[in-house]
Symmetry: C2
Subunit: 304 residues, 2 copies
Protein backbone atom coordinates (compact mmCIF):
# COMPACT_ATOMS: atom_id res chain seq x y z
CA UNK A 1 0.00 0.00 0.00
CA UNK A 2 1.12 3.50 -0.64
CA UNK A 3 2.20 5.71 2.24
CA UNK A 4 -0.56 7.32 4.27
CA UNK A 5 0.66 8.24 7.71
CA UNK A 6 0.13 10.89 10.34
CA UNK A 7 3.11 12.31 12.24
CA UNK A 8 2.32 13.96 15.55
CA UNK A 9 4.66 16.94 16.07
CA UNK A 10 2.80 18.44 19.00
CA UNK A 11 -0.33 17.48 20.93
CA UNK A 12 -0.47 19.83 23.91
CA UNK A 13 -2.90 22.66 24.42
CA UNK A 14 -2.36 26.39 24.88
CA UNK A 15 -0.42 26.41 28.14
CA UNK A 16 3.04 25.05 27.40
CA UNK A 17 4.46 22.16 29.38
CA UNK A 18 7.65 20.16 29.22
CA UNK A 19 5.58 17.12 28.23
CA UNK A 20 4.00 18.50 25.06
CA UNK A 21 4.46 20.96 22.25
CA UNK A 22 1.47 22.88 20.91
CA UNK A 23 -0.54 21.43 18.01
CA UNK A 24 1.06 20.37 14.76
CA UNK A 25 0.93 17.32 12.53
CA UNK A 26 2.26 16.24 9.18
CA UNK A 27 0.07 13.97 7.10
CA UNK A 28 2.29 12.11 4.65
CA UNK A 29 0.34 10.85 1.65
CA UNK A 30 2.45 9.12 -0.98
CA UNK A 31 5.49 11.20 0.05
CA UNK A 32 3.81 14.59 -0.06
CA UNK A 33 3.47 16.40 3.26
CA UNK A 34 0.33 18.20 4.34
CA UNK A 35 0.84 20.14 7.55
CA UNK A 36 -2.03 20.60 9.98
CA UNK A 37 -1.62 23.46 12.46
CA UNK A 38 1.72 24.96 13.32
CA UNK A 39 2.32 25.77 16.98
CA UNK A 40 5.55 27.29 18.31
CA UNK A 41 8.47 24.91 17.88
CA UNK A 42 7.05 23.05 14.88
CA UNK A 43 10.08 23.68 12.66
CA UNK A 44 12.45 22.25 15.28
CA UNK A 45 10.22 19.24 15.82
CA UNK A 46 10.26 18.61 12.05
CA UNK A 47 14.03 18.43 12.21
CA UNK A 48 13.91 16.06 15.16
CA UNK A 49 11.52 13.79 13.28
CA UNK A 50 13.53 14.15 10.05
CA UNK A 51 10.60 15.53 8.10
CA UNK A 52 12.06 17.84 5.44
CA UNK A 53 10.32 21.20 5.06
CA UNK A 54 10.68 21.24 1.31
CA UNK A 55 8.02 18.53 1.02
CA UNK A 56 5.35 20.71 2.63
CA UNK A 57 3.24 22.32 -0.06
CA UNK A 58 0.02 22.90 1.85
CA UNK A 59 -0.61 23.94 5.43
CA UNK A 60 -4.08 23.60 6.93
CA UNK A 61 -4.77 25.77 9.97
CA UNK A 62 -7.80 24.85 12.06
CA UNK A 63 -8.25 28.18 13.83
CA UNK A 64 -6.49 31.38 14.71
CA UNK A 65 -5.33 30.67 18.26
CA UNK A 66 -1.67 31.13 19.11
CA UNK A 67 -1.03 27.50 20.02
CA UNK A 68 -2.02 26.52 16.48
CA UNK A 69 -0.23 29.27 14.50
CA UNK A 70 2.77 30.74 16.33
CA UNK A 71 5.16 28.37 14.55
CA UNK A 72 4.28 29.86 11.16
CA UNK A 73 6.59 32.91 11.25
CA UNK A 74 9.65 30.78 11.99
CA UNK A 75 8.67 28.08 9.51
CA UNK A 76 8.13 30.58 6.69
CA UNK A 77 11.38 32.42 7.50
CA UNK A 78 13.36 29.21 7.47
CA UNK A 79 11.82 28.15 4.16
CA UNK A 80 12.99 31.52 2.80
CA UNK A 81 16.50 31.00 4.24
CA UNK A 82 16.62 27.60 2.58
CA UNK A 83 15.95 29.27 -0.78
CA UNK A 84 12.56 27.71 -1.36
CA UNK A 85 10.99 28.55 -4.71
CA UNK A 86 7.84 26.39 -4.69
CA UNK A 87 4.55 28.04 -3.78
CA UNK A 88 3.34 27.56 -0.23
CA UNK A 89 -0.41 27.29 0.19
CA UNK A 90 -1.95 28.10 3.53
CA UNK A 91 -5.58 27.20 4.16
CA UNK A 92 -7.30 28.59 7.21
CA UNK A 93 -10.13 30.70 8.56
CA UNK A 94 -10.23 34.27 7.26
CA UNK A 95 -9.12 35.47 10.71
CA UNK A 96 -5.63 34.09 10.02
CA UNK A 97 -4.96 36.34 7.06
CA UNK A 98 -4.06 39.49 8.95
CA UNK A 99 -1.35 37.74 10.99
CA UNK A 100 0.06 36.12 7.87
CA UNK A 101 0.05 39.36 5.90
CA UNK A 102 1.90 41.11 8.71
CA UNK A 103 4.54 38.40 8.96
CA UNK A 104 5.07 38.46 5.22
CA UNK A 105 5.24 42.25 5.06
CA UNK A 106 7.52 42.71 8.07
CA UNK A 107 9.81 39.68 7.92
CA UNK A 108 9.78 38.30 4.38
CA UNK A 109 11.34 41.04 2.27
CA UNK A 110 12.83 39.51 -0.85
CA UNK A 111 11.27 36.13 -0.14
CA UNK A 112 11.85 33.74 -3.04
CA UNK A 113 8.48 31.98 -3.06
CA UNK A 114 4.80 32.80 -3.15
CA UNK A 115 2.56 32.33 -0.13
CA UNK A 116 -1.00 31.83 -1.21
CA UNK A 117 -3.73 32.09 1.39
CA UNK A 118 -6.96 30.17 0.87
CA UNK A 119 -9.69 31.19 3.30
CA UNK A 120 -11.87 28.38 4.63
CA UNK A 121 -15.56 28.81 5.29
CA UNK A 122 -15.64 27.15 8.71
CA UNK A 123 -19.45 26.78 8.67
CA UNK A 124 -19.62 24.17 5.92
CA UNK A 125 -18.37 20.70 5.00
CA UNK A 126 -16.74 21.41 1.64
CA UNK A 127 -13.88 20.24 -0.50
CA UNK A 128 -11.09 22.74 0.16
CA UNK A 129 -8.28 21.04 -1.73
CA UNK A 130 -7.60 18.11 -3.99
CA UNK A 131 -4.78 16.62 -6.00
CA UNK A 132 -4.04 13.21 -7.54
CA UNK A 133 -3.64 11.55 -4.19
CA UNK A 134 -6.08 13.16 -1.84
CA UNK A 135 -9.17 15.27 -1.37
CA UNK A 136 -9.33 17.46 1.71
CA UNK A 137 -12.67 18.48 3.19
CA UNK A 138 -13.37 21.07 5.83
CA UNK A 139 -15.24 19.90 8.94
CA UNK A 140 -17.26 22.59 10.73
CA UNK A 141 -16.22 22.53 14.39
CA UNK A 142 -17.50 24.53 17.33
CA UNK A 143 -14.94 26.54 19.27
CA UNK A 144 -14.56 30.03 20.72
CA UNK A 145 -13.41 31.31 17.32
CA UNK A 146 -14.24 30.05 13.81
CA UNK A 147 -12.66 26.61 13.56
CA UNK A 148 -12.43 23.88 10.95
CA UNK A 149 -11.39 20.27 11.15
CA UNK A 150 -9.97 18.45 8.14
CA UNK A 151 -10.92 15.20 6.47
CA UNK A 152 -8.29 13.72 4.18
CA UNK A 153 -9.77 11.17 1.77
CA UNK A 154 -7.25 9.21 -0.21
CA UNK A 155 -8.04 8.97 -3.93
CA UNK A 156 -9.41 5.41 -4.32
CA UNK A 157 -6.50 3.13 -5.18
CA UNK A 158 -6.67 1.24 -8.46
CA UNK A 159 -7.09 -2.54 -8.51
CA UNK A 160 -3.99 -4.72 -8.79
CA UNK A 161 -3.11 -6.28 -12.14
CA UNK A 162 -2.90 -10.09 -12.05
CA UNK A 163 0.48 -10.55 -13.65
CA UNK A 164 -0.17 -14.18 -14.62
CA UNK A 165 -3.32 -13.26 -16.56
CA UNK A 166 -1.50 -10.51 -18.44
CA UNK A 167 1.15 -13.05 -19.43
CA UNK A 168 -1.38 -15.75 -20.29
CA UNK A 169 -3.29 -13.48 -22.68
CA UNK A 170 -0.24 -11.59 -23.95
CA UNK A 171 -1.78 -8.25 -23.04
CA UNK A 172 0.52 -5.38 -24.09
CA UNK A 173 1.93 -3.00 -21.50
CA UNK A 174 0.05 -0.07 -23.08
CA UNK A 175 -3.26 -1.58 -21.97
CA UNK A 176 -2.38 -1.92 -18.28
CA UNK A 177 -3.79 1.47 -17.28
CA UNK A 178 -7.04 0.81 -19.12
CA UNK A 179 -7.43 -2.52 -17.36
CA UNK A 180 -6.67 -0.94 -13.98
CA UNK A 181 -9.37 1.59 -14.83
CA UNK A 182 -11.89 -1.23 -15.45
CA UNK A 183 -11.50 -2.32 -19.09
CA UNK A 184 -11.96 -5.93 -20.21
CA UNK A 185 -9.68 -7.60 -22.78
CA UNK A 186 -10.66 -9.18 -26.07
CA UNK A 187 -8.30 -11.87 -27.29
CA UNK A 188 -7.40 -12.38 -30.96
CA UNK A 189 -10.05 -15.07 -31.31
CA UNK A 190 -12.69 -12.64 -29.99
CA UNK A 191 -13.05 -14.07 -26.50
CA UNK A 192 -13.83 -11.35 -23.96
CA UNK A 193 -11.93 -11.70 -20.68
CA UNK A 194 -13.93 -9.74 -18.12
CA UNK A 195 -12.03 -7.16 -16.06
CA UNK A 196 -12.57 -8.96 -12.76
CA UNK A 197 -10.50 -11.92 -14.02
CA UNK A 198 -7.60 -9.58 -14.84
CA UNK A 199 -7.33 -7.76 -11.54
CA UNK A 200 -7.57 -8.30 -7.81
CA UNK A 201 -9.61 -5.68 -5.97
CA UNK A 202 -8.02 -2.47 -4.82
CA UNK A 203 -7.47 -1.72 -1.16
CA UNK A 204 -10.18 0.33 0.43
CA UNK A 205 -9.54 4.06 0.21
CA UNK A 206 -8.31 5.33 3.56
CA UNK A 207 -9.29 8.51 5.33
CA UNK A 208 -8.01 10.64 8.17
CA UNK A 209 -9.94 13.23 10.15
CA UNK A 210 -8.50 15.93 12.42
CA UNK A 211 -10.98 17.45 14.86
CA UNK A 212 -9.35 20.02 17.13
CA UNK A 213 -10.29 22.29 18.84
CA UNK A 214 -13.97 21.61 19.36
CA UNK A 215 -16.78 21.32 21.82
CA UNK A 216 -18.53 17.93 21.84
CA UNK A 217 -20.46 17.79 18.56
CA UNK A 218 -22.44 14.53 18.25
CA UNK A 219 -23.49 15.37 14.70
CA UNK A 220 -19.85 14.99 13.57
CA UNK A 221 -20.57 11.25 13.32
CA UNK A 222 -22.18 11.83 9.95
CA UNK A 223 -19.19 13.51 8.34
CA UNK A 224 -16.80 11.09 10.02
CA UNK A 225 -18.69 7.89 9.10
CA UNK A 226 -16.27 4.96 8.57
CA UNK A 227 -13.16 7.12 8.83
CA UNK A 228 -9.96 5.05 9.07
CA UNK A 229 -8.30 7.20 11.71
CA UNK A 230 -9.85 9.96 13.75
CA UNK A 231 -7.71 12.42 15.70
CA UNK A 232 -10.06 14.09 18.14
CA UNK A 233 -9.14 16.54 20.85
CA UNK A 234 -9.57 15.27 24.41
CA UNK A 235 -8.40 18.28 26.36
CA UNK A 236 -9.93 17.05 29.63
CA UNK A 237 -11.13 13.93 31.41
CA UNK A 238 -14.85 13.60 32.09
CA UNK A 239 -14.52 15.06 35.58
CA UNK A 240 -13.75 18.42 33.93
CA UNK A 241 -16.79 18.17 31.63
CA UNK A 242 -18.11 21.49 32.85
CA UNK A 243 -14.84 23.27 32.10
CA UNK A 244 -14.68 21.52 28.71
CA UNK A 245 -18.11 22.88 27.84
CA UNK A 246 -17.25 26.40 29.01
CA UNK A 247 -14.05 26.54 26.99
CA UNK A 248 -15.59 24.66 24.04
CA UNK A 249 -13.32 21.66 24.31
CA UNK A 250 -14.08 17.93 24.56
CA UNK A 251 -13.47 15.23 27.13
CA UNK A 252 -11.84 11.88 26.38
CA UNK A 253 -15.24 10.16 26.73
CA UNK A 254 -16.77 12.55 24.24
CA UNK A 255 -13.97 11.97 21.74
CA UNK A 256 -14.47 8.22 22.11
CA UNK A 257 -18.25 8.54 21.66
CA UNK A 258 -17.72 10.36 18.38
CA UNK A 259 -15.34 7.61 17.20
CA UNK A 260 -17.84 4.91 18.22
CA UNK A 261 -20.83 6.60 16.61
CA UNK A 262 -18.85 7.29 13.44
CA UNK A 263 -17.69 3.64 13.32
CA UNK A 264 -14.11 4.84 12.99
CA UNK A 265 -11.43 2.16 12.74
CA UNK A 266 -9.01 3.91 15.11
CA UNK A 267 -9.01 6.90 17.40
CA UNK A 268 -6.06 9.01 18.51
CA UNK A 269 -6.71 11.55 21.26
CA UNK A 270 -4.65 14.68 21.88
CA UNK A 271 -4.61 18.41 22.71
CA UNK A 272 -4.05 17.55 26.35
CA UNK A 273 -4.60 20.21 28.98
CA UNK A 274 -1.54 21.22 30.99
CA UNK A 275 -3.59 20.31 34.09
CA UNK A 276 -3.62 16.64 33.20
CA UNK A 277 -0.51 15.04 34.63
CA UNK A 278 -1.56 11.46 33.95
CA UNK A 279 -2.83 10.93 30.44
CA UNK A 280 -3.41 7.23 31.06
CA UNK A 281 -6.55 8.40 32.80
CA UNK A 282 -7.75 9.92 29.52
CA UNK A 283 -6.84 6.74 27.67
CA UNK A 284 -8.72 4.52 30.13
CA UNK A 285 -11.75 6.75 29.83
CA UNK A 286 -11.70 6.62 26.04
CA UNK A 287 -10.99 2.91 25.65
CA UNK A 288 -13.93 2.03 27.91
CA UNK A 289 -16.10 3.46 25.12
CA UNK A 290 -13.92 2.92 22.05
CA UNK A 291 -11.23 0.28 22.61
CA UNK A 292 -9.03 1.03 19.59
CA UNK A 293 -7.73 4.33 20.99
CA UNK A 294 -4.17 5.64 21.13
CA UNK A 295 -2.74 8.56 23.10
CA UNK A 296 -1.02 11.11 20.90
CA UNK A 297 2.57 11.95 21.74
CA UNK A 298 5.31 13.97 20.10
CA UNK A 299 7.23 11.84 17.64
CA UNK A 300 4.44 9.30 17.12
CA UNK A 301 3.76 8.15 13.55
CA UNK A 302 0.42 6.49 12.90
CA UNK A 303 0.18 4.30 9.78
CA UNK A 304 -3.20 4.10 8.14
CA UNK B 1 27.74 38.97 46.61
CA UNK B 2 24.30 39.50 45.26
CA UNK B 3 23.09 37.50 42.29
CA UNK B 4 24.24 38.68 38.88
CA UNK B 5 24.11 35.89 36.37
CA UNK B 6 23.42 35.34 32.71
CA UNK B 7 21.35 32.36 31.59
CA UNK B 8 21.78 31.31 27.98
CA UNK B 9 18.45 30.08 26.60
CA UNK B 10 19.48 30.00 22.97
CA UNK B 11 22.67 30.84 21.08
CA UNK B 12 22.10 29.71 17.51
CA UNK B 13 21.61 31.93 14.52
CA UNK B 14 18.74 32.24 12.06
CA UNK B 15 18.77 28.80 10.49
CA UNK B 16 17.50 26.36 13.12
CA UNK B 17 19.51 23.30 14.04
CA UNK B 18 19.08 20.52 16.55
CA UNK B 19 22.15 21.84 18.39
CA UNK B 20 20.91 25.35 19.16
CA UNK B 21 17.82 27.42 19.74
CA UNK B 22 17.65 30.98 18.39
CA UNK B 23 18.85 33.87 20.58
CA UNK B 24 17.53 34.44 24.06
CA UNK B 25 19.02 35.13 27.47
CA UNK B 26 17.86 35.93 30.95
CA UNK B 27 20.02 38.24 33.01
CA UNK B 28 19.21 37.65 36.67
CA UNK B 29 20.19 40.61 38.83
CA UNK B 30 19.29 40.25 42.50
CA UNK B 31 16.39 37.93 41.59
CA UNK B 32 14.83 40.14 38.94
CA UNK B 33 14.90 38.81 35.38
CA UNK B 34 15.79 40.93 32.37
CA UNK B 35 15.24 39.06 29.12
CA UNK B 36 17.41 39.77 26.11
CA UNK B 37 15.98 38.69 22.76
CA UNK B 38 13.28 36.10 22.43
CA UNK B 39 13.63 33.60 19.61
CA UNK B 40 11.14 30.81 18.91
CA UNK B 41 11.04 28.28 21.74
CA UNK B 42 12.15 30.71 24.48
CA UNK B 43 9.15 30.04 26.71
CA UNK B 44 9.76 26.28 26.65
CA UNK B 45 13.45 26.77 27.35
CA UNK B 46 12.53 28.93 30.36
CA UNK B 47 10.54 26.02 31.73
CA UNK B 48 13.41 23.62 31.11
CA UNK B 49 15.77 25.95 32.97
CA UNK B 50 13.20 26.58 35.73
CA UNK B 51 13.17 30.33 35.14
CA UNK B 52 9.67 31.52 36.08
CA UNK B 53 8.07 33.94 33.61
CA UNK B 54 6.50 36.04 36.32
CA UNK B 55 9.91 37.43 37.25
CA UNK B 56 10.43 38.96 33.81
CA UNK B 57 9.49 42.64 33.91
CA UNK B 58 11.62 43.96 31.05
CA UNK B 59 12.50 42.46 27.70
CA UNK B 60 15.29 43.99 25.62
CA UNK B 61 15.20 43.17 21.91
CA UNK B 62 18.37 43.84 19.94
CA UNK B 63 16.82 43.97 16.47
CA UNK B 64 13.79 42.99 14.51
CA UNK B 65 14.92 39.73 12.91
CA UNK B 66 12.78 36.63 13.36
CA UNK B 67 15.39 34.60 15.23
CA UNK B 68 15.41 37.30 17.93
CA UNK B 69 11.66 37.96 18.23
CA UNK B 70 9.50 35.00 17.13
CA UNK B 71 9.21 33.73 20.69
CA UNK B 72 7.40 36.90 21.81
CA UNK B 73 3.86 35.97 20.66
CA UNK B 74 3.93 32.69 22.59
CA UNK B 75 5.58 34.22 25.63
CA UNK B 76 3.05 37.06 25.83
CA UNK B 77 0.11 34.67 25.29
CA UNK B 78 1.32 32.38 28.03
CA UNK B 79 1.79 35.28 30.43
CA UNK B 80 -1.85 36.17 29.70
CA UNK B 81 -2.97 32.56 30.28
CA UNK B 82 -1.14 32.60 33.60
CA UNK B 83 -3.19 35.63 34.66
CA UNK B 84 -0.30 38.08 34.80
CA UNK B 85 -1.22 41.54 36.03
CA UNK B 86 2.19 43.25 36.23
CA UNK B 87 3.20 45.54 33.38
CA UNK B 88 5.53 44.07 30.78
CA UNK B 89 8.05 46.49 29.31
CA UNK B 90 9.55 45.75 25.94
CA UNK B 91 12.52 47.78 24.75
CA UNK B 92 13.59 47.52 21.14
CA UNK B 93 14.17 49.31 17.88
CA UNK B 94 11.14 51.16 16.52
CA UNK B 95 10.86 48.53 13.79
CA UNK B 96 9.62 46.02 16.39
CA UNK B 97 6.52 47.98 17.26
CA UNK B 98 4.36 47.00 14.30
CA UNK B 99 4.81 43.26 14.97
CA UNK B 100 4.07 43.75 18.67
CA UNK B 101 0.99 45.86 18.00
CA UNK B 102 -0.34 43.21 15.63
CA UNK B 103 0.21 40.39 18.09
CA UNK B 104 -1.49 42.33 20.83
CA UNK B 105 -4.43 43.34 18.64
CA UNK B 106 -4.99 39.92 17.10
CA UNK B 107 -4.15 37.52 19.92
CA UNK B 108 -4.41 39.37 23.21
CA UNK B 109 -8.08 40.29 23.53
CA UNK B 110 -8.95 40.73 27.18
CA UNK B 111 -5.30 40.51 28.24
CA UNK B 112 -4.92 41.25 31.95
CA UNK B 113 -1.71 43.27 31.84
CA UNK B 114 -0.21 46.24 30.05
CA UNK B 115 2.51 45.86 27.46
CA UNK B 116 4.55 49.03 27.23
CA UNK B 117 6.88 49.47 24.29
CA UNK B 118 9.96 51.65 24.67
CA UNK B 119 11.66 52.41 21.38
CA UNK B 120 15.46 52.43 21.42
CA UNK B 121 17.51 54.83 19.36
CA UNK B 122 20.01 52.30 18.01
CA UNK B 123 22.44 55.02 16.89
CA UNK B 124 23.48 56.15 20.35
CA UNK B 125 24.96 54.89 23.62
CA UNK B 126 22.29 55.97 26.07
CA UNK B 127 20.71 54.90 29.33
CA UNK B 128 17.51 53.12 28.30
CA UNK B 129 16.46 51.78 31.70
CA UNK B 130 17.40 51.90 35.33
CA UNK B 131 16.15 50.69 38.67
CA UNK B 132 17.65 50.21 42.13
CA UNK B 133 19.85 47.37 41.00
CA UNK B 134 20.91 48.12 37.48
CA UNK B 135 21.33 50.66 34.73
CA UNK B 136 20.93 49.42 31.17
CA UNK B 137 22.65 51.23 28.30
CA UNK B 138 22.11 50.81 24.60
CA UNK B 139 25.16 49.91 22.52
CA UNK B 140 25.01 51.00 18.86
CA UNK B 141 25.78 47.94 16.74
CA UNK B 142 26.10 47.56 13.00
CA UNK B 143 23.86 45.03 11.32
CA UNK B 144 21.61 44.77 8.28
CA UNK B 145 18.78 46.39 10.24
CA UNK B 146 18.91 48.86 13.17
CA UNK B 147 20.42 46.94 16.06
CA UNK B 148 21.35 47.66 19.65
CA UNK B 149 23.46 45.79 22.13
CA UNK B 150 22.90 46.16 25.86
CA UNK B 151 25.22 47.03 28.71
CA UNK B 152 23.98 46.12 32.17
CA UNK B 153 25.82 48.03 34.88
CA UNK B 154 25.09 46.91 38.41
CA UNK B 155 24.38 49.74 40.83
CA UNK B 156 27.64 50.03 42.80
CA UNK B 157 27.31 47.81 45.87
CA UNK B 158 27.58 49.50 49.25
CA UNK B 159 30.58 48.86 51.50
CA UNK B 160 30.29 46.21 54.19
CA UNK B 161 29.70 47.26 57.77
CA UNK B 162 32.40 46.08 60.18
CA UNK B 163 30.20 44.46 62.79
CA UNK B 164 32.89 44.65 65.49
CA UNK B 165 33.27 48.42 65.09
CA UNK B 166 29.52 48.96 65.29
CA UNK B 167 29.52 46.98 68.53
CA UNK B 168 32.62 48.71 69.90
CA UNK B 169 31.17 52.19 69.42
CA UNK B 170 27.57 51.23 70.23
CA UNK B 171 26.36 52.65 66.94
CA UNK B 172 22.57 52.35 66.71
CA UNK B 173 20.97 50.29 63.95
CA UNK B 174 19.31 53.41 62.52
CA UNK B 175 22.74 54.75 61.48
CA UNK B 176 23.82 51.71 59.49
CA UNK B 177 22.52 52.99 56.17
CA UNK B 178 24.18 56.36 56.64
CA UNK B 179 27.48 54.70 57.40
CA UNK B 180 27.15 52.43 54.37
CA UNK B 181 26.52 55.58 52.37
CA UNK B 182 29.80 57.10 53.65
CA UNK B 183 29.03 58.83 56.97
CA UNK B 184 31.52 58.94 59.81
CA UNK B 185 30.47 58.46 63.44
CA UNK B 186 30.97 60.83 66.33
CA UNK B 187 31.15 59.18 69.74
CA UNK B 188 29.60 60.68 72.90
CA UNK B 189 32.96 62.15 73.85
CA UNK B 190 33.17 63.90 70.48
CA UNK B 191 35.72 61.58 68.81
CA UNK B 192 35.14 61.27 65.10
CA UNK B 193 35.54 57.73 63.76
CA UNK B 194 36.20 58.08 60.06
CA UNK B 195 34.00 56.05 57.72
CA UNK B 196 36.84 53.91 56.42
CA UNK B 197 37.35 52.43 59.92
CA UNK B 198 33.66 51.43 60.06
CA UNK B 199 33.42 49.61 56.77
CA UNK B 200 35.32 47.32 54.46
CA UNK B 201 35.26 48.31 50.81
CA UNK B 202 32.41 47.24 48.59
CA UNK B 203 32.89 44.74 45.81
CA UNK B 204 33.52 46.28 42.45
CA UNK B 205 30.33 46.95 40.50
CA UNK B 206 29.90 44.29 37.84
CA UNK B 207 28.77 44.75 34.26
CA UNK B 208 27.51 42.60 31.43
CA UNK B 209 27.44 43.48 27.75
CA UNK B 210 25.45 41.74 25.01
CA UNK B 211 26.64 42.43 21.46
CA UNK B 212 24.64 40.50 18.88
CA UNK B 213 24.13 40.75 15.95
CA UNK B 214 26.94 42.93 14.69
CA UNK B 215 29.68 43.38 12.16
CA UNK B 216 33.17 43.75 13.62
CA UNK B 217 33.20 47.16 15.28
CA UNK B 218 36.61 47.94 16.83
CA UNK B 219 35.33 51.13 18.40
CA UNK B 220 33.09 49.08 20.70
CA UNK B 221 36.15 48.75 22.95
CA UNK B 222 35.44 52.20 24.36
CA UNK B 223 31.90 51.46 25.48
CA UNK B 224 32.92 48.01 26.69
CA UNK B 225 36.01 49.11 28.65
CA UNK B 226 36.58 46.87 31.70
CA UNK B 227 33.30 45.01 31.31
CA UNK B 228 33.07 41.99 33.59
CA UNK B 229 31.47 39.67 31.03
CA UNK B 230 31.09 40.28 27.33
CA UNK B 231 28.75 38.16 25.21
CA UNK B 232 29.76 38.79 21.63
CA UNK B 233 28.42 37.09 18.56
CA UNK B 234 30.87 34.84 16.73
CA UNK B 235 28.70 33.58 13.93
CA UNK B 236 31.66 32.34 11.87
CA UNK B 237 35.28 31.25 12.15
CA UNK B 238 37.91 33.48 10.55
CA UNK B 239 37.91 31.43 7.35
CA UNK B 240 34.41 32.81 6.66
CA UNK B 241 35.52 36.41 7.33
CA UNK B 242 34.25 37.52 3.92
CA UNK B 243 30.82 36.05 4.52
CA UNK B 244 30.79 37.58 8.02
CA UNK B 245 31.46 41.00 6.53
CA UNK B 246 28.79 40.59 3.83
CA UNK B 247 26.13 39.54 6.29
CA UNK B 248 27.34 42.02 8.96
CA UNK B 249 28.31 39.37 11.47
CA UNK B 250 31.58 38.76 13.33
CA UNK B 251 34.14 36.00 13.47
CA UNK B 252 35.39 34.37 16.67
CA UNK B 253 38.74 36.18 16.27
CA UNK B 254 36.97 39.51 15.95
CA UNK B 255 34.87 38.84 19.06
CA UNK B 256 38.04 37.98 20.97
CA UNK B 257 39.83 41.10 19.71
CA UNK B 258 37.01 43.25 21.04
CA UNK B 259 37.22 41.50 24.42
CA UNK B 260 40.99 41.98 24.50
CA UNK B 261 40.91 45.64 23.48
CA UNK B 262 38.13 46.36 25.97
CA UNK B 263 40.08 44.58 28.74
CA UNK B 264 37.01 42.49 29.51
CA UNK B 265 37.34 39.97 32.32
CA UNK B 266 35.52 37.19 30.48
CA UNK B 267 34.15 36.57 27.00
CA UNK B 268 31.32 34.28 25.99
CA UNK B 269 30.82 33.72 22.26
CA UNK B 270 27.56 32.66 20.62
CA UNK B 271 25.12 33.12 17.74
CA UNK B 272 26.72 30.21 15.95
CA UNK B 273 26.03 29.68 12.27
CA UNK B 274 24.24 26.45 11.36
CA UNK B 275 27.21 25.78 9.05
CA UNK B 276 29.60 25.36 11.95
CA UNK B 277 29.50 21.76 13.07
CA UNK B 278 32.48 21.98 15.40
CA UNK B 279 32.34 24.96 17.69
CA UNK B 280 35.61 24.00 19.38
CA UNK B 281 37.19 25.53 16.30
CA UNK B 282 35.60 28.87 17.20
CA UNK B 283 36.73 28.51 20.79
CA UNK B 284 40.33 27.75 19.78
CA UNK B 285 40.34 30.77 17.52
CA UNK B 286 39.02 33.06 20.24
CA UNK B 287 41.21 31.77 23.09
CA UNK B 288 44.35 32.28 21.01
CA UNK B 289 43.55 36.00 21.25
CA UNK B 290 41.58 36.18 24.50
CA UNK B 291 42.16 33.15 26.75
CA UNK B 292 39.25 33.63 29.15
CA UNK B 293 36.60 32.69 26.59
CA UNK B 294 33.63 30.34 26.96
CA UNK B 295 31.39 28.84 24.30
CA UNK B 296 27.74 29.66 24.85
CA UNK B 297 25.35 26.73 25.03
CA UNK B 298 21.70 26.29 25.90
CA UNK B 299 21.26 25.84 29.64
CA UNK B 300 24.54 27.53 30.57
CA UNK B 301 24.49 29.94 33.51
CA UNK B 302 27.40 32.36 33.80
CA UNK B 303 28.00 33.88 37.23
CA UNK B 304 29.50 37.34 37.28
Amino acid sequence: MEIFEVNILGCGSAKPTLRHLPSSQIVNIRGKYYMIDCGEGTQIQMQKMRLPMARVGHIFISHNHGDHVFGLPGLISTMALLGRTADLHIHGPQQLQEFLDNIIRIYCEGITFQIIFHPIDTRVHNIIYNDRSVTVWSIPLQHRVPCSGFLFRETPPLPHIRREMIDAFNIPFSQINNIKAGASWTTEDGTVIPNERLVTPAEKARSYAYCSDTAYLPKLKEILQDVTLLYHEATYPEEFAKRAKETQHSTASQAASIAKEAKAEKLCIGHFSARIKNEEELLAEATSIFPNTTLAREGLTLQL
